[in-house]
């Protein structure tokens, strides 16, 4: 072996900067591969029983339905005012029930106001999770079976569904309050109820109104379809029109739903701007 001076031509290539190490790159490729494999597997499992003739036929079906929908049956709106009023009532009364139950639940769930972090807090969190994980349509399905079809089932379904949403956002707001105000009020010798009333409530009130109005807005959307399972409102009319294949009536109902949703969204945005 002879010692040769290192010339620029034979020296190894200068190190190139890489964003990730070799192992990280490999792991990422593996992750992507697993994701693609899972998706393909799920796709095949899902479309096992799909009748592709129906799928290839869909554009023709869509054109047909579109043709039947247009023009919407404008005269049908005279029969929609009452269900619309019912729908708004379901959403509003349901929101009121939900909020009324959510307030104590939120105080019990917030780690700084709960009487016991070991027993009460997990219980309140359980209430929140159970309410959130069951859709209002499922609640309505159950309640129609229990208390019979009608507005009451819709109102209670919306109420039960709203508890989790409102309580979750509200207890997060309670946990984020400024503690110095609580201490200041407590230093005056205030009782527990007074501390809540004078130190905590004023701080969470804007969040509370924002959350409630936001939930009301969501509830308007949800209450438009509760009638499909018999809980009153526009959905009742929708399922009747669907059953008779009166697509121009269905189109009219969609127009009414769209208008209501847009208006309620505007109202809720205005109120939230005003309070926050």
């Amino acid at each position: 072996m002879t010692d040769r001076p290192i010339s620029p031509a034979t020296s190894p290539a200068p190190p190139v900067w890489h964003f990730r190490s070799r192992k990280q790159v490999l792991l990422r490729w593996l992750g992507w591969f697993a994701l693609v494999a899972l998706t393909v597997f799920c796709w095949q499992l899902m479309t096992r029983d799909t009748i592709w003739a129906f799928v290839s036929d869909a554009p023709a079906q869509a054109a047909d339905i579109g043709g039947r929908m247009f023009p919407p049956a404008w005269g049908y709106i005279s029969e929609l005012w009452e269900p619309l009023w019912d729908t708004i009532n379901i959403a509003t009364l349901g929101t009121l029930i939900g909020v009324a139950i959510a307030i104590p639940v939120a105080f019990l769930a917030a780690s700084n106001t709960t009487p016991s972090t070991r027993f009460v807090r997990p219980l309140a969190l359980l209430v929140i999770v159970a309410s959130r994980s069951i859709n209002s349509l499922i609640w309505a399905l159950l309640l129609v079976a229990v208390i019979g079809p009608g507005l009451l089932a819709g109102v209670i379904a919306i109420g039960l569904r709203s508890i989790g949403f409102v309580a979750k956002l509200l207890y997060e707001a309670i946990e984020e309050i400024d503690t110095s105000q609580v201490e200041a009020v407590r230093a005056t010798g205030a009782s527990g109820a007074q501390v809540i009333d004078y130190a905590i409530v004023p701080q969470i009130l804007p969040a509370f109104w924002g959350i409630s109005v936001f939930r009301w807005d969501i509830n308007i959307r949800e209450s438009t379809i509760l009638g499909l399972v018999g809980a009153g409102g526009l959905g009742l009319q929708l399922s009747a029109s669907l059953a008779t294949l009166a697509w121009n009536q269905v189109a009219m109902i969609f127009v009414v739903i769209l208008a209501t949703v847009v208006i309620s969204e505007w109202v809720s945005a205005r109120v939230r701007q005003a309070v926050i």
Binding site: L45, T50, D86, V129, N135, L141, V146, I225, L228
Partner: protein
């Protein structure tokens, strides 16, 4: 000089007395009217209480075995629908989200993409499912399309808002190197929004599973159809079992997604 001895808390919402009273009275009148629109058939409620109790019993002693074939079929449909529709939704909503960001897209593209987002967001999943079932026939394929369509509105809206809130200096720095539009998107915007996109996608996966448990009620496949049949047949122990499974899966998805989100960010 006398000083006030009592303190009255100032009103929070409506500071004008007349307005406040009008609004309170209006709210009261509305409440009375709304309450009157509810007709309660107390006899029906009384009869139903028995069923309600049976449901509670069924929930406490769930029956997983009798209808296990139906339940597992519905579950597989729901889960596969959730995964495929979330992936398809992400794939479609990334270009739409980029198109709906004012700082990246020209005006016509921006308006078109915002239009798609508004269309997807204004209708309930159930209503979309009804239409798609009418077009594509019963089964999970219609459900897949419904959830994918609903995901587009959600994901692209939030993605677009995120891109618009990007740090401008990084975009300018990459642009200053002479990078083209694609390179700006890939090197300046993508690293900034990627963690949030992952978080949003996981959140949407969660929502899609919850929704997949309902759209079966109108015929779009999934565990909702099984649940609907179970309740229609008064098999409350099977219905309780299905609800327990739904709650358990929602919990698992929620906890694992919050774990992954923390790991990504």
């Amino acid at each position: 000089m006398s000083h006030p001895t009592t303190w009255k808390r100032p009103p929070v919402l409506f500071t004008h007395t007349l307005w406040r009273r009008t609004i309170y009275v209006g709210a009261l009148i509305y409440l009375v009217l709304a309450m009157q629109s509810i007709e309660v058939d107390w006899q029906r409620v009384y009869l139903g209480l028995d069923r309600g109790w049976k449901f509670v019993e069924g929930f406490l002693t769930p029956d997983f075995t009798t209808r296990w074939r139906d339940i597992s079929e519905g579950l597989i449909e729901s889960l596969t629908m959730t995964v495929t529709s979330t992936v398809a939704g992400i794939l479609v909503s990334v270009p739409i989200g980029i198109g709906a960001a004012r700082n990246l897209a020209p005006a016509p593209v921006y308006l078109a993409c915002r239009g798609i987002i508004t269309l997807s967001r204004s209708f309930q999943e159930i209503i979309i499912a009804i239409l798609l079932v009418a077009m594509f026939g019963f089964g999970p394929f219609a459900g897949f399309l419904t959830l994918a369509f609903a995901s587009i509105g959600f994901l692209s809206k939030l993605l677009a808002e995120d891109i618009e809130a990007c740090d401008r200096s990084q975009i300018e720095a990459i642009r200053a190197t002479g990078a083209g539009w694609w390179q700006v998107v890939n090197y300046a915007v993508q690293p900034q929004v990627m963690p949030r996109l992952v978080g949003l996608s996981l959140y949407r996966l969660d929502i899609n599973f919850r929704e997949s448990a309902v759209i079966g009620i109108v015929g779009a496949g999934g565990i909702g159809a099984t649940l609907n049949t179970a309740i229609d047949r008064y098999e409350y122990d099977s219905a309780g079992a299905i609800l327990i499974i739904i709650i358990a899966i929602v919990l698992v998805v929620e906890y694992s997604s919050s774990y992954i989100r923390r790991w990504v960010q």
